[in-house]
């Protein structure tokens, strides 16, 4: 508990600038979506958000390195990161929940199953299948076929699972003070992350070009893209975080005992990995 040395920064301009930048970015995004213009505003906001985050984290790193933080501060960061990841878990839970609901209830009901089957009156011809290749209304073109889980998705699963392992090796090396080994395994992890992103990009291309899996392809396309899309964004963010960590390892920022920044990145990466396993099982395999 508190030993009287808890560091409370006097003032900081990043929070207020950050919220301003986020506001600009949101207004820009809204304008692009509603009015079809405002890309520049969005970009200014985005650059602002990224700049503020970079400068804010820079302050934290500098404070940490100048020894301003005590063990209690370390625990604050741990709780903070832990609960943040929990919030992310719940974010994905909403999308998984939507997927399960649609598969177990909504689609069968549309085909007349159970007490709520009255909705079958809307589209009498409709038969329930998952993956839903032919949505109820003929105005919506479903996917022509779906991905076999045993090709690219399996490759990506192996990549991401092994990246968790390589990251753990890097972390263990850091704990033993073997900085170079840590650096190499971390670099390997980043490479695996980048490969995953590329493969996911290829798959998206395939989806649009050859499979008819699009955002507009009914509920299959919608759940497919919202789950894999947000996961993909998280892999990109996670990779960026790991790249920052690589630079910090190379600059001797971490000691075997004191490296929560590194550890937090590991937590985040493992979380992204676990989400992918869920995705692989429920979006691709079953």
């Amino acid at each position: 508990m508190s030993g009287g040395s808890y560091y409370v920064p006097a003032t900081s301009k990043w929070p207020v600038l950050g919220s301003l930048a986020l506001g600009v970015m949101m207004i820009g995004t809204g304008m692009v979506l509603v009015h079809g213009r405002g890309t520049l505003i969005t970009l200014v906001g985005l650059v602002g958000v990224i700049a503020v985050m970079a400068l804010w984290f820079r302050d934290v790193v500098l404070e940490s390195r100048s020894g301003l933080y005590d063990a209690q501060m370390d625990r604050s960061f741990r709780w903070g990161m832990g609960w943040f990841i929990f919030s992310e878990v719940m974010f994905f839970a909403a999308f998984f929940g939507a997927l399960f609901y649609v598969r177990t209830f909504a689609v069968p009901w549309l085909a007349g199953e159970g007490t709520k089957g009255a909705t079958a009156l809307l589209w009498p011809e409709f038969t329930a299948h998952w993956p839903l290749l032919s949505p109820p209304d003929s105005s919506i073109a479903g996917p022509t076929q779906v991905f076999s889980p045993w090709h690219l998705p399996l490759v990506n699963t192996l990549i991401l699972v092994s990246s968790s392992i390589t990251l753990t090796v890097a972390h263990e090396a850091l704990k033993e003070g073997k900085r170079k080994i840590c650096r190499n395994w971390l670099a390997g992890t980043i490479l695996l992350g980048l490969t995953f992103i590329v493969i996911q990009g290829v798959e998206y291309y395939e989806a649009y070009a050859h499979y008819g899996i699009t955002l507009q392809a009914g509920i299959y396309g919608a759940t497919f893209f919202i789950l894999t899309g947000f996961h993909g964004v998280h892999v990109i963010v996670g990779t960026l975080i790991l790249i920052v960590m690589l630079f910090r390892v190379m600059r001797y920022h971490f000691s075997p005992e004191d490296h929560f920044g590194f550890e937090a990145s590991c937590w985040y990466w493992h979380f992204v990995d676990v989400v992918w396993v869920g995705l692989f099982l429920f979006v691709y395999v079953f």
Binding site: A93, A94, F95, A106, P136, I219
Partner: protein
């Protein structure tokens, strides 16, 4: 088992930096507006939250008065139905997300570090970020009223497809502003949890924490668990609107009912987010003015936790008429009724604390007592609504409006007012003006009942909610409601007057402003609390019984 001895903190070390001659001197804070923009101090940020919430309370209140003005008489007099819909929607959104939630967060900011003996919040910069997101979010939300096609008009619950296929173009901005507000809530909650778990004074165990701290700990957990789900569901709306997905569109295999499940999975815990901190406040105030220890401290903690757990399992009670398998209806009906048990434990504990107390009726106590009575009325009407077959009748009538206003206005909002009166001496060093506070209380309590009690009757008689016109037989009830609403609205100017006067001057308050039974750690620091407190952690000691 022997009853748990309630905590009686004592201080071993002095509290302010000046007194303690503590190491690092503070630079003078920046002047003027910059001080508020850049601050990392939990008291200043708490004050900003509270002022923001008060402003939003009036803005949301004006929207409500527009609604009540139109409903004063049957027929359409003042506004057109499109604008009426925007007013009901904006009223609900602003009151929930911009008035009640930030008010509780502001109280948390001010009081939790003081109550647990911490120098500040665990992550002070993040704290400032959480606050400054709010003006951005709600500035954007309010601006939608001026956009082509008007602002959100689909009710604060924004059911799809009203909020997707049939929504005004500004809905995209509404979604984005809600995202910003959600980020603010999540980050604020993470900060509060980290503070409570990590920053307690040495010696203070979890079961020594004041109940306001406990209830906020559990509220933060609810926030972190359900705000991301809200973010998820509005993201799906955004996709349906702008990218042609069919999450809530049956023609593509989706389901509008999916929206309701996701929304209420967030929505029901959300109503507890707005009431659990109120329970904590009332549990602090009643013992102080009944001059007795709180009855059943431990059971209060367990009841709060039980309510939080159950709140994840009852969302279906908002959807009885949507069409749901019978097993689902039965499950949600019984699970909802189960919540009445821990809630009842709380009411029982408050009443028992009052029993044989030597009660006095200072302003905070007046509001706390009104809370106990009127919140309980709201709880009972909730139980009526929980009965699935009965709810087929009540749903979407003014009876529901009566229910949730009883739990939210004389519930959540009265508790916030009680808290303000209770802690104003600590914030300003002065007692609030008693006469004016009493006027404020009596006018509020009378007008609140004038406004909302008749809604039970018009609702039971079948008056639908969210409709600008109504059948003639509801005219008298609505007339009374509208008069009450205007009375309530204008009475709140007294609240502002009391606060302003209290900041400016008034009877001086000592450190322990409310006597020996208000003895949590915050009453050990001087009144007004200096900008920095507990920089050297106090040693918390349980009484040696």
């Amino acid at each position: 088992m022997a009853p748990k001895v309630p905590p009686q903190p004592t201080l071993e070390q002095s509290t302010t930096a000046a007194e303690a001659g503590h190491g690092h001197a503070h630079e003078a804070p920046p002047k003027g507006i910059m001080r508020w923009l850049l601050t990392t101090n939990h008291k200043e940020i708490g004050t900003m939250y509270l002022i923001f919430s008060l402003i939003m309370f009036f803005i949301g209140g004006i929207f409500a008065l527009v609604v009540r003005l139109e409903l004063f008489q049957p027929g359409l007099q003042f506004v057109n139905p499109e604008f009426f819909n925007q007013m009901t929607t904006m009223h609900g959104l602003i009151m929930v997300f911009a008035a009640v939630m930030p008010a509780f967060t502001g109280l948390a900011n001010w009081m939790i570090p003081l109550q647990i003996g911490a120098p500040d919040m665990a992550l002070p910069r993040l704290n400032n970020f959480s606050f400054w997101l709010l003006p951005v979010a709600f500035g954007l939300l309010l601006s939608t009223l001026f956009m082509p096609g008007g602002g959100p008009n689909f009710g604060w619950t924004f059911y799809a497809p009203l909020s997707t296929t049939y929504a005004p173009p500004s809905t995209t901005f509404f979604i984005l502003s809600l995202h910003i507000a959600g980020i603010s809530s999540i980050l604020g909650a993470i900060n509060i949890i980290a503070t409570i778990l990590n920053m307690r004074a040495p010696g203070m165990r979890m079961m020594d924490m004041p109940l306001f701290v406990w209830t906020w700990l559990i509220t933060s957990f609810l926030l972190i668990a359900v705000m991301p789900v809200l973010a998820g569901v509005i993201t799906m709306m955004l996709m349906d609107i702008n990218f042609g997905t069919s999450f809530f569109d049956a023609s593509g295999g989706g389901d509008p009912v999916l929206f309701q499940h996701l929304f209420w999975f967030f929505g029901h815990p959300e109503v507890y987010i707005m009431i659990l901190p109120a329970f904590g406040i009332v549990s602090a105030i009643i013992p102080a003015f009944a001059r007795k220890r709180l009855f059943g401290y431990a059971s209060m903690v367990y009841a709060t936790a039980a309510i939080a757990v159950l709140s994840f399992l009852v969302w279906g009670h908002h959807m009885f008429v949507v069409g749901m398998p019978l097993a689902g209806q039965l499950f949600f009906m019984y699970a909802t009724m189960l919540i009445a048990v821990p809630t009842g434990v709380k009411v029982f504990n408050w009443v028992t604390t009052l029993f044989r107390g030597s009660i006095s009726f200072e302003p905070p106590m007046l509001f706390a007592l009104a809370f106990v009575v009127l919140f309980t009325i709201g709880g009972f009407s909730g139980l009526m609504l929980a009965i699935a077959p009965a709810d087929f009748q009540y749903h979407d009538t003014y009876f529901v409006v009566a229910h949730f206003h009883y739990v939210l206005v004389p519930g959540a909002i009265f508790s916030i007012m009680a808290a303000v009166y209770f802690w104003l001496p600590k914030w300003t060093g002065h007692y609030p003006n008693v006469r004016l506070s009493q006027w404020h209380f009596w006018l509020s309590v009378i007008s609140v009942n004038l406004t909302f009690f008749p809604m039970h009757f018009s609702g039971l008689a079948g008056m639908p909610r969210r409709i600008p016109d109504y059948a003639l037989q509801f005219a008298d009830f609505n007339l009374v409601s509208s008069i009450g609403a205007f009375m309530f609205g204008f009475s709140q100017l007294l609240f502002v007057a009391v606060i302003v006067m209290c900041v400016r001057g008034g009877k001086k308050a000592p450190a322990a402003a409310w006597g020996e039974y208000a003895d949590d750690l915050e009453w050990s620091v001087p009144s007004p609390a200096p900008l920095h407190t507990f920089e050297t952690p106090p040693t918390f000691q349980r009484p040696a019984h």
